[in-house]
């Protein structure tokens, strides 16, 4: 069973839960920019939540399913087609007929959408992971980005996959407006249920990211400390899987220059650069850094950080680590609940 990539679009990569454990060798953990979308899209097609999904960036992605399949998109609003029919279904599994073509034309809110396919992908792991390693200079999958003509081999569906596929495939045929609303057509059928908005991240062109202060926040001058939480930061064109440059109307500066000794840094760290901009570290960031750290985006908001695109604006809101931990535990409970509900279908 194969998924043929016809056009990879701006950038498409394979991402699973990443490769933790190798940071001390200079190897980034990597993984999905929107880890929530990757996990939940997999769960709703019956996959293990650690399964790899395709991370589609900005749009222009076209792929063909050799066999019938159950798929799901996870992320913000998208403009997508299956064959010649609109299929903007996000957060719900979709049954597609054999030979169908999926086109993700544009990621509307958010830079990326995750495509999960029931059965998962058969891939050669690199350091125990199926995630891309774009900076490793390796010309093989899953390390490199996907290209047109790539053929991804899908694994056999498990019992949960098959049960879900059958359930969605046998959704009673709807006609007229209801069918259009729920994105069904002759060649694809979307499930009538979806993951609730209440538990998905609040994707937007101007997200508010919750942060905890960094060690070097105190080194910022007074104006910068105020500006940090008052200003809107504009996402510049220098944004990719390693980091995103952010610029505010007020430059963010230290009260006096400081040469910091390099140390390990984390995904979500907001570094202050000498020219007053911030670099937000993303999934494949360099493992160590010497720039001052103003703050760190909390784990539950990393999906929002991973979804920013050039032209968006972000704001930061301060929270405590205790609160961040509670939010994370609450999200884990919500994801467990999705898993549980899916198992009852």
């Amino acid at each position: 069973m194969k998924l043929k990539i016809i056009k990879a679009g701006v950038q498409a990569t394979l991402q699973d839960a990443g490769r933790a454990g190798w940071r001390r060798y200079g190897v980034a953990r990597g993984g999905a920019m929107d880890e929530y979308a990757r996990r939940v899209a997999n769960i709703i097609v019956g996959n293990d939540e650690r399964e790899a999904a395709v991370e589609i960036t900005l749009g222009g992605f076209v792929a063909r399913f050799e066999n019938e399949a159950l798929i799901a998109l996870g992320g913000g609003e998208v403009e997508a087609m299956i064959n010649d029919d609109a299929c903007n279904a996000v957060w719900r599994p979709v049954f597609v007929e054999r030979g169908s073509t999926l086109e993700v034309r544009r990621c509307v809110t958010g830079a990326r959408v995750m495509l999960a396919v029931a059965g998962g992908f058969h891939l050669e792991p690199i350091l125990d992971s199926h995630s891309a390693m774009l900076h490793a200079d390796l010309d093989r999958l899953p390390a490199r980005a996907l290209r047109g003509n790539d053929e991804l081999v899908l694994r056999e569906m498990n019992r949960t996959n098959k049960r879900l596929l059958h359930s969605v495939k046998s959704t009673p045929k709807l006609i007229g407006d209801k069918a259009k609303m729920l994105s069904s057509s002759s060649s694809h059928i979307a499930a009538t249920w979806r993951v609730s908005d209440k538990i998905t991240p609040r994707y937007s062109y101007s997200p508010v990211l919750r942060v905890v202060r960094g060690r070097e926040y105190e080194l910022l001058n007074e104006a910068s400390r105020a500006a940090f939480f008052d200003n809107e930061f504009y996402v510049t064109k220098q944004t990719d899987r390693t980091g995103s440059r952010l610029r505010a109307a007020t430059m963010i500066n230290l009260s006096e220059p400081d040469e910091m000794i390099s140390e390990a840094v984390t995904h979500g760290t907001l570094q202050v650069t000498p020219n007053g901009e911030l670099i937000a570290l993303q999934a494949e960031h360099h493992t160590t850094g010497g720039y001052p750290r103003a703050a760190h985006v909390i784990t539950v908001d990393l999906p929002l950080l991973g979804q920013i695109k050039a032209g968006d604006t972000v704001r930061f809101r301060e929270t405590s680590i205790e609160q961040a931990h509670e939010l994370l535990m609450a999200r884990e409970r919500a994801i467990a609940e999705v898993k549980h509900r899916v198992s009852l279908i």
């Binding site: 933790a20 454990g21 190798w22 940071r23 001390r24 060798y25 200079g26 190897v27 690199i126 350091l127 390693m133 900076h135 490793a136 200079d137 390796l138 390390a143 905890v212 202060r213 960094g214 060690r215 926040y217 000794i261 390099s262 140390e263 390990a264 840094v265 984390t266 979500g268 760290t269 360099h286 493992t287 160590t288 850094g289 750290r293 760190h296 985006v297 909390i298 784990t299 405590s320 680590i321 205790e322 961040a324 931990h325 994370l328 535990m329 884990e332």
Partner: protein, 248 residues
């Protein structure tokens, strides 16, 4: 606000909600490096379930933790997760050997060809330090270097111990792409670029060795705590060994 605890000569602080650093208040010294290595090994030896990994740097050790696991452990002691972790670390730091333990890292010899073709910045170093080519090579190969940490790129090792006579400022304009295996000097540091990445250091040679191989575990030749010596080899010897170095 960051959960910073300042005791004696180290501090413990959070880096966001999934990592904590222990940082010794010190410049980059061999002594602090030993303390970092001792602490790193002590944390690893404890095999704490909630520790995902532990990353040493020049003067610090950063612990990445799994909240779900930490939460379970902390709940047993009726403590908040962060509080529990800070206490654990303080305990480990207190008991980690402060004395200079013998280095348990490996000794690695890295063959380097210092030929002109592989050393585009050799002249720059020679002129900056008023040395002949032979003197640069002798000085570079005369020392045992300590691997302080890896970072910036997979397998890129920050080496300590570069003789002051060789210190040369970084290039004004970094190169967009330096050949894999390039041996270079940047300020007071020396290192080898394991992959073809951008680079702003002065390139004085190239090694035929593979410093990075993703088909092996560990994936890098060097690790923090190792000792490195550079050995000068001829162009002929370089070519003979080069087939060994393909990034895989």
């Amino acid at each position: 606000m960051t959960g910073a605890e300042r005791t004696r000569d180290f501090e413990i602080y959070a880096q966001g909600d999934a990592a904590l650093s222990v940082r010794f208040i010190s410049d980059i010294t061999d002594d602090t490096h030993r303390r970092v290595m001792n602490l790193w090994r002590a944390v690893e030896a404890r095999r704490l379930e909630f520790v995902v990994e532990c990353v040493p740097a020049f003067t610090s050790v950063t612990i990445f933790y799994d909240l779900k696991q930490l939460h379970t452990h902390a709940a047993k002691s009726n403590a908040a997760p962060l509080e529990y972790l800070v206490l654990e670390l303080q305990n480990i730091v207190a008991h980690a050997s402060d004395t200079t333990e013998s280095n348990t890292g490996k000794i690695i010899e890295i063959p380097v060809c210092y030929d002109d073709d592989f050393a585009p910045d050799m002249m720059r170093v020679m002129m900056h330090r008023n040395l002949t080519r032979e003197q640069v090579v002798t000085l570079h190969t005369s020392t045992a270097y300590t691997v302080f940490m890896l970072g910036f790129a997979p397998g890129f090792a920050y080496l300590g111990g570069l003789p002051p006579e060789l210190h040369t400022p970084r290039l004004d304009e970094p190169r967009l792409r330096v050949p894999a295996g390039s041996v270079a000097i940047g300020g007071a540091q020396t290192g080898v670029y394991p992959l073809a990445t951008a680079g702003g250091w002065n390139i004085i040679g190239r090694t035929p060795l593979a410093l990075c191989d993703f088909t092996r575990t560990p994936p890098t030749l060097l690790d923090a705590g190792d000792t490195v010596r550079f050995i000068s080899i001829t162009r002929r010897e370089y070519e003979h060994q080069e087939h060994r170095r393909a990034v895989r």
